[in-house]
Symmetry: C2
Subunit: 237 residues, 2 copies
């Protein structure tokens, strides 16, 4: 399997002249990549063990105000004298943010990168969420070997489908229903979305929680109000 087939970018310098601004590649860069074959400067980034996770949060937008680093879950940010979290940088690993303390309320997937204000992570409708009070790492994300089953009805009844990729439209891929009755995560971690195109409420579904079994839509999260699921994607480390 090549690095690109695992979704990693080979970021290369300008084709003319030597790059002065440095070159980076993904953590499992493939030395047979086209960039390498062209003899371009490529710097290998150290492999990050999946057990190393780090998130930095700020009390104000745009990475301003006091900051706090975490390498494990935080059940209530007010214990660190924050009113709430207003900007985030995920340094490594994948995290889930929650609207309320103790991992309750709306869920937000947080992949590596910068979230400068609430709009960058929160689903914002008429009831939008401008804060994040608790968060925890997702340990079982396994992008290259994720698989799950979705069922038409609760308790794994009715029609079902095996998922092993990303599905921006379940309906386009053959699932004729806007709803999902139950789910069984056999491997990896997934984000399920209320609407097509990875939009709406998010539900983080992990192999190592509930034994991967989610028998009823009320188990998808404390904010679950509907069985509507129209798009699903894998979570990558």
């Amino acid at each position: 399997m090549t690095a690109q087939s695992r979704g990693l970018l080979a970021v290369v310098g300008p084709e003319t002249g030597s790059p002065s601004c440095g070159v980076t590649v993904g953590p499992t860069w493939d030395p047979a990549s086209a960039a390498h074959q062209r003899g371009e400067l490529v710097t290998k980034r150290p492999v990050t063990p999946t057990s190393v996770v780090q998130i930095v949060v700020w009390e104000r937008e745009n990475f301003q105000g006091r900051r706090q680093e975490f390498t494990s879950e935080c059940s209530n940010i007010t214990q660190y004298d924050f009113d709430d979290v207003r900007s985030i940088r995920v340094e490594s690993g994948v995290w889930v943010g929650y609207e309320h303390h103790d991992f309750e309320g709306q869920q937000f997937i947080l992949e590596r990168g910068e979230y400068s204000r609430w709009e960058a992570w929160s689903w914002s409708n008429s009831y939008h969420v401008e804060w994040m009070m608790s968060f925890r790492p997702v340990y079982c994300a396994d992008h290259s070997a994720s698989c799950m089953e979705i069922y038409e009805r609760e308790n794994f009844m009715g029609l079902h489908a095996d998922l092993c990729e990303d599905y921006p439209s379940l309906q386009a891929m053959g699932w004729s229903n806007c709803n999902v009755g139950s789910m069984f995560v056999k491997r990896g971690a997934w984000v399920c979305y209320q609407f097509l195109g990875y939009r709406g409420y998010q539900y983080i579904m992990e192999y190592d929680r509930h034994s991967g079994e989610f028998k009823h839509w009320r188990q998808w999260g404390s904010h679950s109000q509907t069985p509507q699921i129209q798009s699903i994607r894998r979570i990558m480390h």
Copy 2:
């Protein structure tokens, strides 16, 4: 290439007893699938030519009020005595919706399925868009063979990366910048998003528009206000 490797679902009936509610599969279902091997009832859906596109729009939410079908672009829905569009069903193909008439303003990718109200398609922040005034099909989507290049600076300058998959976090995949300076779509069609995890403003980038060349972020759409791009995915038919 198997059907599943192309992202198609093999939707199968219950494992006990004969399914009474019918069974559907994706248009290029693989007869060697596990479902078939188990001898379960599987019905093949006819292949839809990519040139056949159809969208139905309603003047009210939840598919209420007057409806109108389209098989080609609509530059101004008011020409059909609609004030605007409030719910949508994409029957086939992939479409792009626009905030204003004549394909101006915010862009929304519309893949196959049902959009019951504005929240299902519009990026909704403090300046949210509750309507859609024009829309057109995307003809060049080619999920299995899409490729594009992103560049650090405008006019295809600076560091660049080749993309051939979906990237919920460009930063996780080795792109160290929150911005993209220019893009070259070599094949297929893509949605580029302002934020990580397919969130924020959308920019639909197609091989058959501008010859695939987008030299400056102002060319990404009439609503472009920033070079910020943090996630990118392919569009599938």
